[in-house]
Symmetry: none
Subunit: 242 residues, 2 copies
DNA sequence: GCTCATTTGTTACAGGGCGTTACAAAAAGC
DNA sequence: GCTTTTTGTAACGCCCTGTAACAAATGAGC
C-alpha cells in the first residue's frame, strides 16, 4: 500500500462531479475507480484493495450515510463524505456514522486532495480490511511466517510445526510489531473469545510459542512481556505479499 | 490508556474561545488542558501523555502552522487546526503541513467534538500509544536504548536487562533530556497511574535504575535529582530512527 | 558552627504478576 | 470406540514492585 500510489474509489451519482473528481485525483497521482453506488460499489470494495472511498451523501439508490455505516461494520477503510447538505447537524451525523471527513459541496478540488492526504496519513498504518485479511509472508529476525500456508520457517531453514493456536498468536503479534497487546486483545485476536475472569490461556500459549521458537534458534526473545499490560513483539517485521 | 478518557490540549490565545472549547469538551468526557502557545505548550506536549492537540492557526507568538510542522517532526500526535481564515488555500496549507483536520471559525462545538472523535478513531487504532513518537534508538554517554527491542546496551557493549518499569522510566527521561519531570509526571508517563498521596514508587524505580546503570559503568550519574521538583536527564541524547 | 524540618536515598518486606510444571478436559485422527 | 494432540486449569515459586521504616542529605534559621 505504501509502495504504490493509493487507490481511491469515487462514488457519486452525478456523473459530471464524479468524473471531474476522478480526473483531478488522477492528476495528483492517485489510482481512481468510479462507481455510481449500490451493489456495484460493494463489489468494488470487496474485490479490489482500496485505500479510500469518497462517497456522496445523497444518492437515489442507497444513501451515502447508510452505505458508510454498512461499510464500517466489516471494514475500517477510510471514507470521506461529500454533500450538498452543509448544515452543522448533517456534518455531525456524517462523522458520527464513521466517516473520516465530511466535505460540503461545492468544494475546492485541491482541498479534497489535501483532506485525502490527511486521512491517508493516519490510516496507512492500519490493516485495511477486517474481513478479508490479506494473506502475506512476514519475516523477522531470520524467521519466515507464511500466513497462507500457515507455516513457520526457522533462520536455518527448518520448517517448524505450530499448532493452530500458536500460529494465530504468532501472527497476531507479528502483524503488530512494537505494539503492546493486552491478554484480552490477544484472546480476541486469536480465538475471538471473551476474557473470562481467571483466564491464563494466553500466558500458556505464549509460553509454548516461546519454547518452540527457543528450541529451533532464537537467542534474543522476540516476544517480550510487559508486566501489568501484556505482550509485545520486539523485532522488526518485513511484509511481503504473496 | 485506552481505559481512560482521551486527553486533549487546547492551544488558543483567545482566552474566551479557549475556555469555551475546554468546557464543551469536558462536558463530553474528555480530559482537557489549555495553553496559550509558545513555550508553555511545548512543555505540556513534552510532559504529559496527550491524545490530541487543538491549535489556533493564528497566534501572536509562534504561528499555529509552524507549531504544527514542528510537532510533526518529532511526534505523530493528532492535530486539529482552528482558524478565522477560511479561504481554500488556507485550509489546504494547514492540512499539508500535517494537521489531521482543519476547522474554520466560527464553528459549531458539536461539530468539533464529532471531528475530534473521527480523528481519534483513526489515531487510536494506530499501533502503540498515541503521543508516542516513532520507535527509535536513543544514545547517550555511550549507552544505547533500543526502544523497539526494549533493550539497553552499556558503553562497553554489554546488554543490560531492565525490568519493564525501569525501561519505561529510562525512556521517559531520555526522551526529554534537560526537562525537569515531576514525580507525578513520571508516574503518568511510565505507568499512566494517578499520583496517590504518599506515593514514592517513582523514587524507588529511580533508585533501582541508577543502581543498575552504576553496576555496569556510569561514573557521572545521568539522572539527577532536583530537590522539591523531580528528576532530570542530564546527558545529551542522540536519536536515530530504527 | 548547631538544630530541626523536610526531602530524598536505602533497606526490608509483603503482595501480586507471571513463568513453569503437572494434569485434566477437549478436540482431532484413526 | 481408542489414541494422540492440543488446549485450558491448578498449583508452585521466582521475580518485580510498591509500602513502610529508617538513614542520609539538604536547607533554613539561629
Amino acid at each position: 500500500m505504501s509502495t504504490t500510489s493509493p487507490h481511491i474509489l469515487v462514488v457519486d451519482d452525478d456523473r459530471e462531479i464524479r468524473d471531474l473528481v476522478a480526473r483531478h485525483l488522477k492528476k495528483h497521482g492517485f489510482r481512481v475507480d468510479v462507481a455510481s453506488g449500490g451493489v456495484e460499489m460493494k463489489e468494488a470494495v470487496l474485490r479490489s484493495r482500496l485505500d479510500l472511498i469518497i462517497l456522496d451523501r445523497v444518492m437515489p439508490g442507497e444513501d451515502g450515510l447508510t452505505l458508510c455505516r454498512n461499510l464500517r461494520a466489516s471494514s475500517n477503510i477510510p471514507v470521506i463524505l461529500l454533500t450538498l447538505l452543509g448544515s452543522d447537524t448533517d456534518r455531525i451525523v456524517g462523522l458520527e456514522v464513521g466517516a473520516d471527513d465530511y466535505l460540503p459541496k461545492p468544494f475546492n478540488p485541491e482541498e479534497l486532495v489535501a483532506r485525502i492526504r490527511a486521512v491517508l496519513r493516519r490510516a496507512q498504518a492500519l490493516p485495511t480490511n477486517k474481513s478479508a485479511k490479506i494473506e502475506r509472508v512476514l519475516s523477522f529476525a531470520g524467521w519466515t511466517l507464511d500466513c497462507r500456508a500457515r507455516r513457520l520457517t526457522s533462520p536455518d531453514g527448518v520448517v517448524v510445526t505450530l499448532t493452530d493456536g500458536e500460529f494465530e498468536l504468532l501472527r497476531a503479534l507479528a502483524e503488530r510489531p512494537g505494539v503492546i497487546l493486552s491478554r484480552d486483545e490477544l484472546l480476541d485476536l486469536t480465538s475471538g473469545r471473551e476474557p473470562g475472569l481467571f483466564d491464563r490461556s494466553v500466558d500458556m500459549q505464549i509460553m509454548r510459542l516461546r519454547r518452540r521458537l527457543a528450541a529451533h534458534n532464537d537467542a534474543n526473545d522476540i516476544i517480550k512481556t510487559i508486566r501489568q499490560q501484556g505482550y509485545i513483539f520486539a523485532a522488526d517485521v518485513e511484509e511481503a505479499e504473496h
